[in-house]
């Protein structure tokens, strides 16, 4: 009903002379859903093992037996990897959009301003120090220890960053980026010390984890990270309106009835949880959080009510595409996905910087 009345509202004559980007944004959602379905299919089909998802599905539908090899490749390797790619891509892009809305700046990205590094420090601490925890405590958290520690690391970094970079509701871009460098360096240094202390088994864990890859996706990891990521990005619909108000600054947002502290607190928690979970399962994957919201703002405008859901979809699509590239370019070996996203993403970041050079110090 609401959707229909919204549509009729959008199509009413009052809009004929005024170009309304919200219609475009809603069409974009539909297009992205279709694109995500296509990309998911590609991701299931393409891989080092020549298993065709299409053949397997038609065989299954027609009641034929499928080989154990095909079953393993499709359901135990490619499917969890696909779902992990969707969740991680969505959480990176939504976190980027949330942070940019919170800091009122398109350059705020969890990877750039040290939040991912903080989450990484949390994860590394958990991997290396888990052995020295009381057994009961370690057992209590179980597999959730690493994502929980990553969440705490990400949350602490976001809070520190916000306190340092924001004064009277206005964020200084230069301070934000520089504080991000400092936070990232500090997290990196402590992570380095922890790595030095790690034993051989822990080092293998760290190396595997630190590559920034979806290759480690398993159903058990998915069961741990999935609910956290879903919960974190499900707050986004409640934040869209508030972040739109916040684009006018904290005072003006308040005058429009936005509960500024509530919006900020929820956004920071969501970013920390989404980034914590994503970093815990896939390591640091950069640039999705900055490229996706930027492309969407260019095409359909900055309205967060549409930006956030569309970012989740486009983030998932781009990460799946990067994953497909990472595992086919030098097949049968794999390129770490972080390398692919950085190669594609850093030129876009430089391009944003070039376009904004004049207003960077506002």
């Amino acid at each position: 009903m609401t959707a229909i009345s919204e549509m009729s509202e959008a199509l009413s004559p009052a809009h004929e002379h005024s170009f309304d980007r919200s219609i475009l944004a809603r069409r974009m959602t539909v297009a992205l859903l279709v694109a995500l379905a296509c990309t998911s299919y590609l991701s299931l089909t393409w891989g080092a093992a020549g298993t065709s998802a299409f053949t397997v599905f038609t065989d299954l539908l027609q009641g034929h037996e499928i080989t154990l090899r095909d079953r393993v490749v499709l359901f135990d390797i490619r499917l969890p990897r696909l779902l992990m790619g969707i969740l991680v891509g969505a959480s990176l892009a939504v976190s980027g959009a949330l942070m940019q809305g919170l800091f009122r700046n398109p350059l705020a990205d969890p990877g750039l301003v040290g939040v991912s590094a903080g989450a990484g420090l949390g994860a590394i601490s958990a991997i290396v120090l888990a052995g020295s925890l009381p057994t009961a405590l370690a057992a209590l958290f179980g597999y959730y220890l690493v994502p929980l520690a990553a969440f705490l690391g990400g949350w602490a970094s976001t809070l520190v960053l916000y306190r340092v970079a924001t004064r009277r509701g206005q964020t200084s871009v230069a301070t934000m980026l520089l504080a991000g460098i400092a936070l990232g360096a500090l997290s990196g240094a402590v992570s380095g010390v922890l790595t030095y202390k790690a034993d051989d088994a822990q080092l293998r864990d760290l190396t595997f984890w630190g590559m920034g890859s979806l290759a480690g996706a398993t159903w058990s990891k998915l069961m741990i990270a999935g609910p956290i990521i879903l919960l974190a990005i499900s707050t986004a619909p409640f934040l869209g309106r508030g972040l739109n108000g916040l684009a006018l600054g904290e005072a003006a947002a308040r005058h429009l009835g936005v509960h500024v502290q509530r919006v900020k607190g929820l956004a920071i928690l969501s970013v920390a949880a989404a980034i914590g979970a994503a970093v815990a399962v896939s390591g640091g994957i950069g640039f999705i959080g900055i490229v996706v919201p930027h492309l969407l703002r260019l095409s359909t405008g900055p309205d967060h009510r549409y930006l956030l859901p569309n970012a989740a979809l486009l983030g998932a699509i781009l990460l799946l595409l990067a994953d497909i590239i990472s595992r086919t370019v030098i097949a049968p070996a794999e390129l770490p996905i972080g390398i692919v996203t950085a190669t594609l993403g850093s030129p876009v970041f430089l391009w944003i910087l070039l376009r904004r050079r004049g207003v960077l110090d506002m």
């Binding site: 005024s18 170009f19 684009a247 006018l248 003006a252 429009l256 936005v258 405008g301 900055p302 309205d303």
Partner: protein, 265 residues
């Protein structure tokens, strides 16, 4: 009625406002004047709950601190001196943000037409699809005024007056648009709402405001209509100078000739 009793505001250890009593009536255009740094904007921020304050602000019979933000957004709109905008919103998207406050069915029915009406009211009817950041400072200020008008289109709500707070609304405007904005505040008051504006231009204030509150160093020097407030004693207390006061036609309101400013401290 808007009543503020014994308002004090401190920033850090410095007290900016020292116990201000302030009253604004619905149906009137109230102006706050005074020299730079005397606390006009701070007073406005206290009245709108933007700043922590000591004392009491009563708006439509209720204590401001007990009114929810959502209700406050329905009761009053605020135009700040400047409102920097993040992200490339178009002009009509900015104006639409004013609808966010949500005033029930009256606005819901008119969601599509109101932003355009508000833009026409500030003489920016054809600017809806332009990007906000591309406009001049004065035009941007008028877009924000349209946004506030969108929020406060009717001057009353459920039989209670609404309030329009404007902080130096004409500072960056040309003389024609200064007049437009003054007329908007005037009309809002004439329709039963209350308009409260921080002003710098004393002549513009005399010509348009019903009630004038003159401040100096965090205290009220004088309040009343232009004839009461614009005296040589008050002007020299507030601004530290004497100015020739005449009452020329057509308004016959006090007029201060800029060239007559003498013996400033």
């Amino acid at each position: 009625m808007l009543k503020a009793k014994n308002i004090t505001v401190s920033i850090g250890r410095t007290e900016i406002l020292h116990g201000i009593d302030f009253t604004a009536k619905p149906g009137e255009f109230t102006a706050i004047i005074g020299p730079n740094g005397c606390g006009k904007t701070t007073l406005l921020r206290a009245l709108t709950g933007e700043m922590p304050y000591g004392g009491q602000v009563i708006i439509n019979g209720r204590d401001l601190s007990e009114i929810s933000l959502t209700e406050q957004a329905i009761m009053r709109g605020v135009l700040a001196q400047s409102t920097p905008l993040a992200f490339p919103f178009t002009v009509s998207e900015v104006v639409r943000l004013g609808l966010m406050a949500g005033t029930g069915s009256a606005n819901a029915l008119r969601r599509n037409t109101l932003p355009q009406q508000a833009l026409s009211r500030v003489d920016l009817a054809d600017y809806g699809n332009r990007f906000f950041q591309e406009l001049s400072g004065g035009e941007q200020q008028r877009v924000h005024l349209a946004r506030v008008l969108c929020q406060m289109w009717e001057a009353s709500h459920n039989g209670l007056p609404r309030w329009l707070f404007l902080d130096e609304p004409v500072a960056s405007l040309d003389i024609a648009h200064q007049r437009d904005v003054m007329q908007i505040a005037r009309d809002f008051a004439d329709q039963g709402g209350g308009a409260v504006a921080v002003m710098h231009d004393l002549n513009l204030t005399a010509a348009w405001a019903d009630h004038i509150v003159m401040m100096r160093a965090g205290r009220v020097v004088s309040s009343g209509n232009a004839q009461t407030v614009y005296t040589n004693t008050n002007l020299s207390t507030a601004y530290g100078c004497t100015i020739d006061i005449s009452t020329p036609p057509p308004s016959n309101q006090p007029f201060l000739h800029p060239a007559s400013v003498i013996s400033c401290d």
